[in-house]
């Protein structure tokens, strides 16, 4: 009986992986693009289950809003604005067979290299041992010796914002540049000023009423995920994408004119800049303190190190705050939430207003 108990997660893992293969096949071969988007959302659901069974709750929290909520919603808006069906006539059969063969060979080589890089044989495929680096991170994430620890029980957030903080800083700048690119494409566009009318716009009264109940709850959950990021699964990224779901709900269920009562593009840009400035400030706050009191300090320093003996307190009145991790999570929550709010609002501008502006620009 206990054998069966320990086998169950692996069975569910294999079954959801095979089911996701069916969903991927249907998503790629479907000609109706709306259906293809829905099949890819089904694939994402199975992948979320796989992530859960591979015991990474942080990824589950960030993956469900992104891949099941936000990306299908945006893709459906895009399909509604463009072509609904895909024309696949005229692709020669020989071309597709050659592409399929070369892609298969590439994937097999990549998969073999992955197994080799894991330095294991198929005999003990999930290796019972972890890498030395992983053991070091796990052992020191909350340790009695502050000089080697980040004083946070959450190893993933500790790596994201303390051990490997500079990586995350530059990845945030990639997101910053992507949003700047979208803003540059939509530089002359603005949401038309129109009054929201309850009786003609949006979905039925049932959808509106349940949205009115759910939206504040989602925002509270998002803030809770972000602020407890150094203690429990979650953090700024997870809270930000969870909060961005509310903007898409408001646009889909009410209308974009209702959403602009709460989220205006210029205010969203301002709040995002505040979030990014908060990230820079949290990265340099220990260095600034060190400069002021004349002691050596690093950027992205959280706890005291051997040759830089200053750092932020890791607890206030008995509550663990893990130094800069709380500041980073709060700022990143603001930056991610408002960044995706901007993109959603820009995408939901009605097409006839856009075409007028573009026509004027081309001529």
């Amino acid at each position: 009986m206990s054998d069966l108990y320990s086998l169950t997660p692996y069975v569910v893992l294999a079954v959801s992986a095979l089911a996701s293969t069916i969903a991927v096949y249907l998503a790629v071969t479907e000609k109706d693009l709306i259906k293809a988007v829905l099949y890819s959302a089904i694939q994402s659901t199975f992948y979320a289950l796989i992530f859960y069974l591979l015991v990474v709750p942080d990824i589950v929290l960030v993956y469900i809003p992104v891949a099941v909520g936000l990306l299908p919603a945006i893709l459906i808006i895009a399909v509604k604005k463009t072509e609904k069906y895909e024309d696949v006539g005229g692709v020669p059969r020989s071309t597709s067979i050659i592409v399929l063969l070369s892609v298969t060979v590439f994937t097999l080589i990549a998969g073999y290299l992955l197994v080799v890089s894991h330095a294991i044989t198929f005999d003990v495929f999930p290796s019972p041992d972890a890498r030395l680096l992983a053991k070091w991170f796990l052992a020191t994430t909350l340790w009695w010796n502050r000089l080697f620890s980040s004083m946070s029980p959450e190893a993933v957030t500790a790596i994201v914002w303390d051990y490997r903080g500079l990586d995350t800083y530059f990845e945030t700048s990639v997101m910053y540049l992507a949003i700047i690119g979208a803003l540059a494409i939509a530089r002359y566009l603005d949401i038309p000023r129109k009054e929201y009318r309850e009786d003609v716009m949006g979905m039925s009264i049932i959808g509106k009423m349940s949205a009115k109940i759910i939206v504040p709850m989602i925002i509270i959950v998002a803030i809770s995920i972000a602020l407890h990021g150094h203690l429990t699964p979650g953090g700024g990224f997870q809270g930000g994408v969870t909060g961005a779901v509310t903007v898409s709900l408001l646009i889909f269920i009410f209308s974009v004119y209702f959403a602009t009562r709460f989220f205006k593009i210029n205010i969203a840009i301002l709040l995002r800049i505040i979030g990014l400035a908060g990230i820079i400030l949290s990265a340099t706050i220990v260095a600034i303190i060190g400069f002021l009191i004349g002691q050596p300090a690093y950027i992205f320093q959280n706890q005291p190190k051997i040759i830089a003996q200053i750092g932020l307190p890791y607890e206030i009145g008995g509550n663990l705050i893990s130094g800069t991790l709380l500041l980073f999570n709060t700022s990143e929550f603001l930056a991610v939430f408002m960044g995706f709010a901007i993109l959603f609002l820009l995408l939901s501008i009605p097409e006839e207003n856009v075409l007028e502006v573009i026509k004027g620009e081309v001529e």
């Binding site: 206990s2 293969t21 990306l71 895009a78 024309d87 692709v91 495929f125 999930p126």
Partner: protein, 132 residues
């Protein structure tokens, strides 16, 4: 004698490999740009699953999450934690990868909608033949 858990885990791994093949095929062969973007997002997700699989380990009865459940860990608890918890580095990489992937994907969708506004089609074969 091969362990049944290893067999099931290998089935998972091979299923994700098949997903990668189908997604890459979709990127290269399907003509519609939005269909290419859907296939690209599936390909990215497969890559994330690979990264997580590298960090997975076999522990009895099942591995633990890489998060301590106490705020004052004893030496025994830390040893138990290091012996049981999965690798926390791949989740940290994938975490930012998912969010940045979404932002880049939205930028691509913006570009394809703009392409449709200017050219009137999303078929890559027709767009290549057009001028200006």
């Amino acid at each position: 004698m091969i362990d049944l858990r290893t067999y099931l885990f290998t089935v998972t791994y091979i299923a994700i490999l098949v997903n990668t093949v189908i997604a890459l095929y979709g990127i290269f062969v399907r003509p519609n740009i939005l269909k290419k973007i859907i296939a690209l997002s599936i390909f990215g997700d497969c890559t994330f699953v690979y990264a997580i699989i590298i960090g997975f380990r076999k522990a009895e009865p099942y591995p633990e999450i890489p998060i301590m459940i106490t705020q004052q860990p004893s030496q025994e608890y830390i040893e138990h934690f290091v012996a049981k918890a999965v690798d926390p580095v791949p989740p940290a990489l994938v975490l930012t990868g998912v969010v940045i992937g979404l932002a880049v994907m939205l930028f691509l969708i913006f570009l394809s909608i703009q392409t449709y506004r200017l050219f009137g089609t999303l078929d890559i074969r027709k767009i290549v033949k057009m001028r200006g």
